[in-house]
């Protein structure tokens, strides 16, 4: 919290509007600067750019080879070209990635690393290679189990990726370049965590939409520049200790990089205070130990320290992590978002619902197709959920006064 100032007493009411406006303006300025730099970076390429998808792909290796890691993301809209090459019953995000590649959105990439996290992404690689190929293509194999026994598998994946990158780009990955890359990535993660943690306050100084945008920028920008700018932003951020009646929401589930879902949630007197998403906490929580042998440390970070996604066969770790977030961020309700055909989350959902029910945490399940097509229906369901939260919150207060545990609610 060293970057934040706490204001107390009557001043906060007076300064409320000013503080919020100042924060917003600082964030806007930060985003403008980073985006401007990104445009320059793409226009005057000084280093190769490597596309990647899946948060289990170690960016450190790419950076250590003097290459800029660039997370590719899809774009909402009709899927026309990808339908020709992939079957229709595959996750919309995967289809959208291929759609963007086929229509030339990623022509600037010098290479692509696809994380083999699910059956769908393994197959995306086959189609990518044949129909959208970049000069360098690599399928990064990921063990699906959080256990020491799979370290060897992940280490071998790193070694193979390093060898192929070195052979293709002619750039050597040395121990010192790897250590420097680890330090840079750790700094990005630390700064993002600090920014996200500011939302533990009742009135978060950064909205979920902006947090999402910043996290996405972290994945596609020159990391050193990004870190400097974010550090400067954090020094300007101020927290106003203002009361808020908004429901505090944790969003978890499938890949989500579009702000429309967050906007829809927050239209209903709710605040998304943390996102257990691949474009959220699952990207930046967990540091690589800088005092350990680099490959060993990277392996440990990605297999054990990083919050697991549902693709890892590790429901207990996921559930514990989410419950920890619920307590830390004082969450009133959880929204579980699933992309249609995204199997890991579709299969996980019944267990997660049971878990949250056992903890008396209200939960809403939303299924989308990576587009805004069903927005009307989703908005209605969100409104109903917020009504339930109002009821639950009231009962929670009442029950606490009486020293009773409030009743479970199933939605």
């Amino acid at each position: 919290m060293k970057y934040a100032y706490f204001l107390k007493g009557w001043e906060e009411e007076m300064l409320e509007t000013t503080v919020l406006a100042q924060n917003e303006s600082s964030i806007e300025e930060f985003i403008r600067n980073v985006k401007k730099r990104n445009v320059q970076l793409l226009a005057n390429k000084t280093a190769p750019i490597m596309g990647w998808c899946n948060t289990y792909v170690p960016e450190e290796i790419i950076l250590a080879a003097g290459i800029i890691p660039y997370r590719i993301m899809g774009a909402p809209g009709p899927l026309i070209l990808s339908k020709t090459y992939l079957c229709g019953n595959i996750c919309g995000n995967v289809q959208s990635l291929l759609e963007c590649a086929l229509r030339g959105d990623y022509k600037f990439l010098d290479g692509m690393i696809i994380g083999a996290s699910t059956d769908a992404t393994k197959k995306l690689f086959d189609s990518w290679l044949r129909y959208a190929g970049t000069p360098f293509n690599h399928l990064f194999d990921i063990p699906k189990f959080v256990h020491e026994g799979v370290y060897l598998h992940y280490r071998e994946s790193i070694n193979s990726l390093s060898e192929e990158i070195e052979a293709h780009f002619g750039n050597k990955i040395t121990e010192s370049s790897l250590k420097e890359a680890i330090s840079t990535c750790n700094k990005t993660r630390t700064l993002l965590t600090i920014l996200s943690n500011l939302r533990k306050n009742e009135k978060p100084p950064v909205s979920s939409q902006k947090m999402l945008e910043i996290c996405k920028l972290a994945m596609i920008s020159d990391k050193k520049f990004f870190n400097n700018e974010l550090e400067s932003l954090l020094s300007k951020m101020k927290i106003a200790n203002i009361k808020s009646s908004a429901y505090r929401i944790l969003l978890t589930g499938s890949f989500q990089d579009q702000p429309w879902l967050l906007e829809s949630i927050e239209e209903n007197n709710a605040l998304v205070v943390c996102e257990d998403l691949c474009t959220g906490l699952r990207y930046y929580i967990g540091l690589v130990d800088e005092d350990v042998e680099p490959i060993e440390a990277i392996t440990k970070r990605y297999i054990e320290k990083k919050p697991p996604s549902a693709t890892m066969i590790s429901f207990d770790q996921r559930a514990d992590f989410i419950f920890k977030l619920i307590n830390e961020f004082k969450v009133d309700g959880v929204i579980y978002h699933m992309l249609k055909f995204d199997d890991p989350y579709l299969f996980e959902f019944p267990d997660m619902r049971e878990f949250l029910e056992s903890k008396s945490v209200p939960m809403l399940r939303i299924e989308t197709e990576y587009t805004t097509s069903a927005m009307g229906q989703i908005k209605t369901r969100l409104q109903a959920f917020m009504e339930t939260l109002r009821f639950t919150k009231y009962r929670k207060i009442k029950a606490n006064k009486n020293g009773q545990v409030y009743q479970k609610i199933r939605i």
């Binding site: 020709t84 090459y85 992939l86 079957c87 019953n89 595959i90 996750c91 083999a116 699910t118 059956d119 769908a120 393994k122 197959k123 995306l124 690689f125 086959d126 189609s127 290679l129 044949r130 399928l139 194999d141 063990p143 699906k144 189990f145 026994g149 799979v150 060897l152 598998h153 071998e156 994946s157 193979s160 549902a310 693709t311 066969i313 429901f315 207990d316 699933m338 249609k340 055909f341 199997d343 890991p344 579709l346 299969f347 996980e348 959902f349 019944p350 267990d351 619902r353 399940r365 299924e367």
Partner: protein, 416 residues
């Protein structure tokens, strides 16, 4: 849950079978080996419900040889769901799973398992084992069920880059560790000699089955695809048993006899079809229509491919690891394409039919690449039938038959 509950599960299942079963008489079971196969699977199925059996639920590809070496009964829930579908028992089971929160977009084999567990139809496992091959969902479901049953879950992590030098030892070590732990937990002896013996049986059965596949290259085809495709489940489930050797030997001898006598599976064979993926288990009409009505014999099913080499009993774990890693569908699509291309030549194929199971992203997502490459390189037409192997609610017999008719017209025209 104690072992006594298996009685309850069996009673539940028995009640279901008695009340609602719609018995389908298969028009395909013409061979003695097929009857032996059904009898063996039936025996294993019944033993899985016995109070004193040690039962391991295994997802596809988990090596059964290890389980037989420990005298543990393998139980393949996916296979059992296909059996339920065959008797039209899955409608209710799938509905129960969906009510429980399972999405209808997920694989119906796995949804069926969840529904059957909720309804207490499945025998309580002592162990649950899954691999990282093919189906990611099965590992998730097994892990979840292991928690429900409070039983040990084993996960065999098989590297997708099967060719990397560390892969064999990495998988072998996991298999050995699993066997040791299972032996310890079930008070069985970790007996490598017994494992070697199961590998010897497995090799013998493998060799007969490979010979069967070779015989099926004969023109006219000696075996109907409708009968052969159900052998696929055995390929994973019963290797390591001496009975399996007998079944494969019988099958080989029966087909050889048919060939020697000049008997074809279908009189007047017109077209030779290669079948990709599995089949709709709730109907026999599709295969019957293709093979008997159109005289287009399914000469080979990829699921029946003996893709692995004979194993070395002296290195049981390494051999089993190699078997897992040599699966043609595992790895990048080019590996599978190479197999398909060789089947086209070996079996003198005129056309390919693929039944694309709705819930399977892994198998269905490669379809377009296969279509492009096979058409381009081999000039063989492919019919892709989108459907579901278990869930019959969206199956439209008329539509499917219309598409089969159109495909047969293409094949007829190509033959002039």
């Amino acid at each position: 849950m104690d072992k006594f509950t298996r009685k309850l599960e069996f009673e539940n299942l028995w009640g279901l079978l008695k009340q609602k079963r719609e018995k389908q008489t298969s028009p395909f079971y013409t061979l003695k080996a097929t009857k032996l196969r059904s009898s063996l699977l039936g025996r294993l199925f019944r033993r899985a419900y016995q109070k004193d059996s040690v039962v391991a639920w295994r997802s596809s590809f988990v090596p059964s040889e290890i389980l037989f070496a420990l005298n543990i009964i393998p139980f393949a829930p996916e296979g059992v769901i296909s059996m339920f579908a065959n008797s039209h028992l899955t409608d209710e089971i799938l509905r129960v799973a969906e009510d429980h929160g399972c999405s209808r977009d997920t694989c119906s084999f796995l949804r069926g398992i969840e529904g059957s567990v909720i309804n207490d139809y499945m025998p309580m496992p002592d162990f649950l084992i899954a691999t990282s091959m093919y189906c990611h969902g099965s590992a998730q479901v097994f892990k979840s069920l292991s928690k429900k049953y409070k039983k040990d879950f084993f996960y065999i992590d098989v590297p997708f880059h099967y060719e990397r030098p560390y892969a064999v030892d990495y998988v072998a070590k996991q298999l050995e560790g699993m066997m040791k732990k299972m032996a310890e937990k079930s008070n069985r002896k970790f007996d490598v000699d017994k494992l070697k013996q199961t590998i010897i049986y497995s090799n013998q059965a493998r060799n007969y089955f490979a010979k069967v596949n070779k015989l099926r290259q004969n023109k006219p085809s000696s075996m109907l695809g409708g009968e052969a495709i159900d052998y696929a489940i055995m390929l994973a489930h019963t290797f390591g048993l001496p009975e399996m050797v007998e079944i494969c030997k019988t099958l080989y001898e029966e087909l050889k006899e048919r060939i020697d006598k000049g008997i074809g599976a279908v009189e007047g064979e017109k077209h030779r079809i290669l079948w990709r993926q599995l089949r709709p288990y709730y109907t026999n009409a599709l295969f019957d229509y293709i093979e008997r009505t159109h005289k287009a014999v399914i000469v080979f099913e990829e699921a029946n491919c003996v893709y692995w080499k004979e194993m070395n009993p002296e290195q049981p774990f390494k051999s089993l690891a190699k078997k897992l890693l040599s699966n043609y569908g595992f790895g990048q699509v080019q590996r599978w394409l190479d197999f398909t291309s060789s089947f086209i030549i070996d079996y003198n194929v005129d056309g390919i039919i693929e039944f694309a199971h709705w819930g399977c992203r892994y198998l269905s997502a490669s379809t377009q690449i296969v279509k492009d490459k096979i058409l381009q390189d081999k000039n063989i037409p492919i019919l892709v039938l989108d459907g579901d192997c278990i869930d019959r609610r969206d199956y439209s017999d008329g539509q499917i038959k219309t598409r089969v008719d159109a495909f047969m017209e293409i094949l007829n025209r190509r033959k002039g």
